[in-house]
Amino acid sequence: MMNRKLISVILSFSLGVVISSMNACSQFIATDNISTGVDGGAITNPSASLFEKTQSTLARDCNGCHRAGGTAASFEFTTPQQFITAGLIVPGRPRQSKLIYRMRNFNDTTVTTDNMPVGGSAINSNDYQAIYDWIAEMPSDQNVFECVNDTFVPSQVRASHAKRISIRQYSNSLKDLLSMSITRPTVVSMVDGALNMFPLPSDTGQYFRRENNVFIGAHAQGFFDIADRLATTVSGSHLNDFVTRFIQLDPATCTSINVTTLSTACRTQLVRNFASRAFRRPLRDQAQNLSTTTGDQINEVADLVAEFNGVSTQEGVNRLIFRVLIAPHFSFQIEDQNLLVGSNLGSNTFAISPYAFISRLTLNFWNSIPDNTLWQMAETEDFTTNTGFNNVLNYVLGQRLKMDDAMREYYYDWLRLERTPNFNVSPRFALIAPNITFNQSLRSDMISEVEELASFLTTSGGTFEDLFMSDISVARSTQLMRVHNQGSAAPSYQTMTMANALRHPAGQRAGILTRPAMTISGSEFANPILRGAHLRKDILCLNLGAPPSDALDTFNGITVPNNITTREKVGIKTAGASCVGCHNLLNPLGFAFSNYNSLGMFITQEPVFRSGQDVIESYLNVNSAVDLSPLFGPGSTAQDAAGLSRFVAQQTSAKACFAEKFMSFSLNRPVDREDDACRLNRIYSNLNSTDPLLDMVRSTALDMEFRVRKLQ
């Protein structure tokens, strides 16, 4: 098992400056090349020492034979490249490196089975680990996740289980379902009203909220109450629309609709069309001759039509809606019965039906039910061919507006936007930004801005690099526009394109990292440490050590002049011997954002407040130039946040981190870096400056696991 120490950093606020002191952080750097990222070696700058240690180990334990004039090929190399050239190591891939597998006898048919050193004692584990880490931390952009065998193996497919749909999916599904018969604004108002009146427990997955699969009494009560309310409202106020429009989706033998005295044929079509859309599959009826394990016949059509027996159409519709909205196949994703098609692929793994596939697609990427077009495609497309399969997939991914909700959810969770600070408003806010009202509404706008930008870029042809470099503005609210000092509102999301999108002034905003939600501190003081920690931990997926327990006291105990920049203050306060080791790896990431004040506004100067008073005494030029050498290698520098963002977008660790997170999100399960290495590589390969992010999304749906179900 790989070492995966994810240490959370404790951030504390004091005098407007956040401190984060990391004690001996190198001890927390994981040995796993993915969890540290291939940049990990550069960040801690351990590669030089690891290389030296490797050389030392080889000299002691190997060079007896592996030396010039020895009995085996010489290892007396002085540079890493010599090892690469000699085919002894594959950068970033220790398990594929001969130097490693010869010492641990990993499978390799080209070599003898003897472990090295032959005839000597095995290399001790610490030395072995140092060599392993040295190789692991070398940059590599190929086979990042060490895919060994990229073939579909049914036995390795994970069993999937019934899952309660997320609250977000539930809400969207209700709206999309009822909108098939009633105008959307009416439905949205109706559904949102019911959800407000009968709040459901929030989904709280470990990382992604939608991972939450629990079903507690509050869910049952909420679903019951919401179904009760919607059924009553629809049948009471929208009876004609509901009945006629659902029947008209496919009238079949219902040739004349008389709502008051609905014929059996019309009742049947109403039931079929409504419930099948809700269940995301055709209803089961007598013709299918299905039965349970106990022999009970399954005839959903008859069961639901029976709700009309002996009662008025209004009451029948009321009962029908209620029953469908709390039915298992509406509120749960259950792939059972005739949803499985095809023969057993092995290990009890079956191809899923077209309906199950479109259900997976839309629940995952639309957070909702399939629309009528998809419904038709499920009936007509041949999913066994790549053409048919891709037609469906292209349609789903091509619906930008439908994709938006799921993508927003992903970016909210990935970027940990729930941690966006609330505004702790002080009189100094008015001095910094006199025309802006800092409140919850603005905070929500800021969060939505990041969600929307990322979602737009993902669904509109943007690349992974665009996420970090785009200057597109999506600010529309007056307050947020003021934060951006923006004169006009961005086009509506519905009409916005890459071509007509509003752009921020050159050099001011570059991608998601520079948006207010990612830079605000909540107070009048910017917080470089928090910015750096967020970037390092959540975007680069690099570990952080916990600060020592006395970090805050140490930080507060250091007196700094008032008339220096925040960057300079933080630099002084974290320069102590117990702090600097880790803060050297953290502070530059935050300092690069010095052009954004604590309220997310672009600045070139920051105010100096008179001590103890709400008065701006002077302004100081900010400096966002940073030396990134300790993080990204010798000679790495960035003049500002844009420069840093570009570095980030190119980092293996950032792309690997993103790949893992998106795969976990799309499959609703944790990712295993070894078992899922091949599919992670496919996602990773789309994260660059040229491939649309949509291809990355597509790669997750093209994966075989997405198209089969393994029964437990």
Binding site: F215, F224, R323, P328, E335, Q712
Partner: protein, 567 residues
């Protein structure tokens, strides 16, 4: 649990496929004796008796360790240990044991779990010894053949007019009958079991001959159910059908079970359509059409889910019938149905019960003895816990509930495989204060060392430690005597002077060493074989050694229980 008060005493019954029954408890229904229950509370006996075994001792008992408290009866009866059951429940979700689960947790202070009860002869398979007729064996072990057949205690109670006024007692539902009755001519025969569907049972009890009880009632009021009740009932049936689907994994099933539980909780709060008659019991209209359409001829033939569902209903019906004093002796006898068989090569008996340590591949990788425990958990969760809950919701006189005035008794054919040692005995209720409650009681005599037959070493391996934890203890039949006496019966009601003569006044052999001077054994049932005396004389024989360990002077007595001051 909130107790029903006098105004709203009501027993709810839920049936399959929309059957919904509600039975308010009305004092006027009860015979006059019951009206005066403060003086003479009505006692009722409920048995849950099962064939097969509980798999492993640890499935059943809350602990296999020595209990904390010691009590030595003043009459010279054996010293025993006990401990509060609540001490085994560190938090609200703790389980008493894998079989007993946690649904009985609210009632632990009204329960006793008894350990150290042994039969004193090996019988192999038996169909009557659980309630007292050791002679009812299939001849698997000849040591008990030829003994005089006896009525089982449920029949003793049912035939006693001081105990029950109902000539049709006891009631017996089950796919097997572990009950033996005595004809007027003295012939002992096996009672007929009845596997009727719950709604039919309801009709038998509450609508005899098509005439709802109470006869002659008129007028009344109707309380409508919540308008969503019927639809929600059908939704639950939708869930059940999916649960029984062909492509449902075990995890799917757990998820659906949990969901159904949550919706069932809501359903239980929606109320029933209830017609309250002016006198006697009342109940809601049964949706017979829905009940008939569920496609099942018998709940006993289907899967565990529908099986358990039916047992929940049986429990509700039993409690309702008790509240209306339609019966006072209720049995539910279960021989594990074949649909639990997961061994493709053997029947359940050979494939599961007899292979306690085997892992059956098609059984989800479970070890058989654990599987046995899981099966019984179903009956405890669905029937026993529901029954106890319902009984405890009826407040009777003197601050006692119907549960307090009753005894709910659970036992099984064997403990492990064929073993008759550590036989299970769960008693819930105090029989109107006749028994102290709230304890695990252990009659094991650890000071004598492990019992030589360590829980039926099925594989003929006396050193096999896997079933250990068996010691000399008390005779199992004393638990039956305890029940009879707690129910108010006297020795004359159940003793048979024709049996156990072999053990009286003996001075020879090992048995004589300990039991010299017993002029009358008394008590209920056979101590053991009387036709194979060699088993009790020959020092090399296990049973001879065994009989030397027991003092039969107290065989006729109730088991000693913890004192009322016990903590």
């Amino acid at each position: 649990m909130k107790k029903n008060d006098k105004v709203s005493r009501r027993m709810f019954l839920k049936g399959a496929g929309g059957v919904s029954l509600a039975i308010p408890f009305l004092p006027s229904l009860l015979p006059r004796q019951a009206w005066g229950q403060a003086l003479t509370p009505i006692k009722r006996y409920f048995s849950l008796v099962g064939g097969y075994d509980y798999g492993h001792h640890q499935n059943w008992f809350p602990t296999l360790n020595q209990l904390s408290q010691v009590h030595t009866p003043s009459n010279g009866d054996q010293t025993f240990r006990y401990q509060r059951l609540s001490s085994f429940l560190p938090n609200a979700t703790s389980i008493l044991s894998p079989m007993l689960g946690n649904r009985l947790n609210p009632y632990v202070n009204k329960m006793n779990i008894i350990r150290g009860l042994n039969l004193h002869t090996r019988i192999g398979h038996g169909g009557g010894h659980m309630l007292g007729n050791i002679a009812a064996t299939d001849g698997h072990d000849t040591r008990v053949t030829g003994l005089k057949p006896l009525r089982t205690i449920d029949q003793v109670l049912g035939a006693n007019r001081n105990f029950t006024p109902h000539s049709n007692d006891p009631l017996l539902i089950g796919n097997s009958a572990y009950s033996y009755l005595r004809s007027a001519g003295g012939t002992i025969s096996r009672a007929s079991s009845n596997m009727t569907k719950p709604n039919n049972l309801f009709n038998q009890l509450f609508v005899p001959g098509g005439n709802p009880i109470p006869q002659g009632g008129g007028g009344g009021t109707t309380t409508p159910a919540h308008p969503r009740r019927d639809v929600l009932t059908r939704v639950l049936e939708d869930y059940r059908k999916i649960r029984r689907g062909r492509n449902i994994s075990s995890t799917d099933a757990q998820i659906l079970d949990n969901t159904m539980d949550r919706y069932s909780d809501i359903l239980s709060r929606l109320g029933e359509t209830t017609t309250v008659a002016t006198s006697g019991c009342s109940y809601s209209t049964i949706n017979t059409a829905q009940a008939a359409s569920d496609g099942r001829n018998s709940f006993w033939d289907y899967n565990p889910e529908s099986h358990g569902y039916a047992f929940d209903m049986y429990a509700r019906i039993y409690a309702a019938a008790a509240s209306c004093d339609l019966r006072r002796v209720f049995n539910l006898h279960v021989n594990i149905p074949d649909f639990f068989d997961r061994n493709a090569d053997e029947d359940f008996h050979q494939g599961h019960s007899h292979q306690p340590w085997a892992t059956i591949a098609s059984n989800g990788g479970r070890i058989n003895h654990q599987y046995m425990g899981q099966i019984w958990r179903l009956y405890i969760d669905t029937f026993l816990a529901r029954l106890v809950s319902e009984l405890d919701s009826f407040q009777e006189a003197a601050g006692r509930t119907m549960l307090d005035n009753s005894l709910v008794h659970m036992t099984l054919e064997s403990s492990t495989v064929h073993s008759d040692y550590n036989k299970p005995c769960l008693l819930i209720g105090s029989a109107a204060g006749a028994l102290t409650t709230g304890h695990m009681i252990d009659y094991s005599r650890r000071e004598l060392g492990p019992h030589p037959e360590q829980g039926d070493n099925f594989e003929s391996d006396p050193a096999n430690p896997r079933f250990g934890h068996v010691y000399y203890g008390a005779h199992y039949n004393r638990s039956l005597t305890t029940i009879l006496q707690a129910m108010g019966l006297s020795a004359a009601d159940y003793e048979d002077p024709e049996i156990n003569r072999f053990f009286q006044a003996r001075t020879d052999g090992r048995i004589g060493t300990v039991n010299n001077g017993i002029a009358r054994i008394g008590g209920y049932g056979h101590i053991g074989s009387e036709n194979s005396g060699v088993w009790y004389y020959n020092d090399s024989q296990l049973y001879s050694q065994q009989y030397s360990r027991y003092n039969y002077h107290f065989y006729k007595n109730s088991l000693p229980f913890p004192p009322s001051s016990a903590v």
